[in-house]
Symmetry: C2
Subunit: 314 residues, 2 copies
C-alpha cells in the first residue's frame, strides 16, 4: 500500500527525457515524502483491449512518459539523493510485449506478441498466467533518475550514471537507493513501473503496469558517487526462491552470447517440463528468471546462467 | 560430511586436461556413488607457509590437477550424466591469490597477493577474515566435467559445453547437475574445490581448498542437452542473504565493463564503510559478492550490479 505523503504528483503523459532545463513540478525539503502516480510505460497506447495486431500502429514516441521532475532544496552537484521506497499501489492490470525490437532473442521470436494481464492489486493472490504458471506481485519503478548536467535532452531508454531506465527489480519496498546529483535540485523523475520482472528483463518487457509509488527523499551532502547504489532490507529473492531453481548454463567468450544460450536452453527445458509454448516460456523467463554471471575469469570463456524459480509451477 | 560411497578415488597430481583418450580409473554402474578426493587447485605449489613472494617461482603448469576420470557403464553420446552432490569433507586450510594474471581489475591490482586461510572444517563456525569480516563455509567443485569428443587434449582453464571449469558456486549439497555426454562412458573428472565464492569469482580465485566430494552418478538416456544444467533444492543464497545486500550498479554498453564498474564502486563503498584496504575489499568481493545482470535490453546500455551481503560484517 502507498502511505500518506507530503505531496502527490499526478500522472503525466508529456514528460519525456532527461534535461537540466525541465522545470520542477514541486520543490521539497530533504526528508519529505512524495507519492508519484505513474502510468504504465505504454503511455496510453496500450489498453486492456489491445491485441498484438495493434502493435504496428502504436506511436512509440509516446512510450515511457515520466512523472516529475521534483527538486530537492539544497541539492548540488556531488551530493546524492537517498530515496527510500515506502509503498506501492498497483492498478490491477498490465501488459507484456514481445517484439523483434526488444529482447535478447529477436532472431528466435520475430513475431509481435501482446499479453494483457489482470491481477489482484493487493498482492494477496499470486499473479496467474492462464493456469500455466503463477508468481507473486512485486512492484517497482523501472525508471528512476535525476537530470544530467549536459545541454541535450537525453532519451529515457538508456540508463545513465544518475539513474534512469535501470530496470533493477529490487528497487522495492524498504530498499534505499542513492542517486548522484549533477544539477541543482537533482530533478528526480520516475516512470515505467513493473509488478514482476527477473534480473535481465531479457525479453524486453516486464509485467508493465500503472503503479503509484510513495518515496521518502533525503539529501546526502558530498556523497561523490560514480553511479547508483542501493541497499536491500532483507532477502531479495524470498518471494520466489524457497523451493529452489532450474538453472541453465551459457558458455561463451561473450557474456551477451552466454545469456542468449542460457535463455534458449531454459526455453527448451520449460517447454519440455511444463507443456508451455516457446513464447510462453520466453515471456516467463523475462518476468521470473534471473541472469547471473557465474564466472568471468576463466579466460577466455565465461559462464552466464539463467536461474528460473521452481515455485512458478508449484 | 562425506557419506560412505561405493568407490573412493584418491587425490591425483598428474591428470590435467580433457581428453577422450584418458583411461578411466574405474568404471561404475549408473546409480553408484563415488568419493572424489581432491587437492586444491595449487596442485602442491602452495602450502600453508607460502607468501606472495613465492608466486613468481611457482610452476603454474602444475595448477588445476583433476581427480578422475571415471566411466559410467552404458553412457553414450547424447546421454547426460546426472550428478547429485551428497557431501563434502573440506581440509580446514586454503588460500586465495590476487595477481595481474587473473581477475577483472588487473589494472587496479597489479601486485601479487596471497592469503592463507585456516577455518573450521565442520562449517559450524564461520570463516573469519582477520577479524574484519566473516562468512559461512559452502564447499563445491569449481571444475566438474566430461571429456569432449575431439582429438586434442583441452586445457582445464576454460569451461566447455560438457562442463569443466564452470565455477558455479551453487554446485553444493543437494544440487543435481546434468552434464552432456560426448564420448563412451562420459569420463567424469572433478577438481579445483572451493569453500567460498560469489557469482563471478571476480578477482580470479575463490577460497581454494582441498575438499573430498561425494556424489551419486546416474545416467539419463537421450537427454540431448546443449550444455550443463542443474536444479537447486532450495534457496541458494540463504547462507548469506538474511539481512540483505549492499549493491553497486555498473552502467555500460559492455557487460564486462559494467561488471568492472560495479566492482570498483563496491571496493570504494566497503573501504569507506568498514575500514578495509582496497585489496581486502577486492578479495571479499570475489568470495562473497554476486554479479547480476539487471537489464540487457535498454539498448545500447546495460546494467550489471554487484550484490554484496551485509551479513559479512554483522
Amino acid at each position: 500500500m502507498v502511505v500518506q505523503c507530503d505531496y502527490v504528483l499526478e500522472k503525466q503523459l508529456s514528460h519525456f527525457g532527461w534535461s537540466r532545463d525541465n522545470a520542477p513540478q514541486i520543490t521539497i525539503e530533504p526528508g519529505e515524502t512524495v507519492e508519484f502516480r505513474i502510468t504504465d510505460t505504454g503511455g496510453g497506447e496500450i489498453t486492456q483491449d489491445s491485441t498484438a495486431d495493434d502493435i504496428s500502429s502504436m506511436n512509440f514516441e509516446r512510450f515511457m512518459p515520466l512523472t516529475g521532475p521534483i527538486a530537492v532544496d539544497g541539492a548540488k552537484a556531488s551530493d546524492a539523493l537517498k530515496i527510500t521506497f515506502l509503498g506501492f499501489r498497483p492498478a490491477g492490470w498490465g501488459w507484456s510485449m514481445i517484439s523483434h525490437m526488444y529482447g535478447i532473442l529477436p532472431d528466435q521470436f520475430p513475431d509481435p506478441f501482446l499479453k494483457i494481464w489482470n491481477y489482484d492489486p493487493s498482492g494477496q493472490s499470486p499473479i496467474d498466467y492462464e493456469g500455466k504458471a503463477h508468481f507473486p506481485m512485486r512492484p517497482f519503478p523501472g525508471v528512476i533518475g535525476l537530470a544530467r548536467d549536459c545541454e541535450e535532452t537525453l532519451s529515457c531508454l538508456p540508463p545513465h550514471t544518475s539513474g534512469g531506465n535501470l530496470d533493477v527489480r529490487d528497487l522495492t519496498e524498504g530498499t534505499e537507493l542513492y542517486l548522484p546529483v549533477e544539477v541543482d535540485g537533482g530533478l528526480l523523475s520516475l516512470g515505467d513501473t513493473h509488478v514482476a520482472q527477473g534480473h535481465g528483463e531479457l525479453a524486453g518487457t516486464a509485467l508493465e503496469s500503472p503503479v503509484d509509488v510513495s518515496v521518502k527523499v533525503e539529501l546526502v551532502k558530498d556523497a561523490n558517487l560514480a553511479a547508483p547504489q542501493f541497499t536491500t532490507p532483507g532477502r531479495p529473492n524470498s518471494h520466489v526462491d524457497e523451493v529452489g531453481y532450474f538453472v541453465t548454463c551459457g558458455i561463451s567468450s561473450d557474456l551477451r552470447e552466454g545469456a542468449r544460450q542460457s535463455t534458449s536452453q531454459m526455453i527448451d527445458l520449460l517447454t519440455r517440463l511444463h507443456s508451455l509454448s516457446a513464447i510462453d516460456a520466453y515471456l516467463l523467463c523475462s518476468l521470473c528468471g534471473d541472469l547471473v554471471i557465474n564466472e568471468m575469469v576463466n579466460t577466455p570463456v565465461n559462464v552466464v546462467s539463467l536461474y528460473f524459480p521452481k515455485s512458478v509451477f508449484e
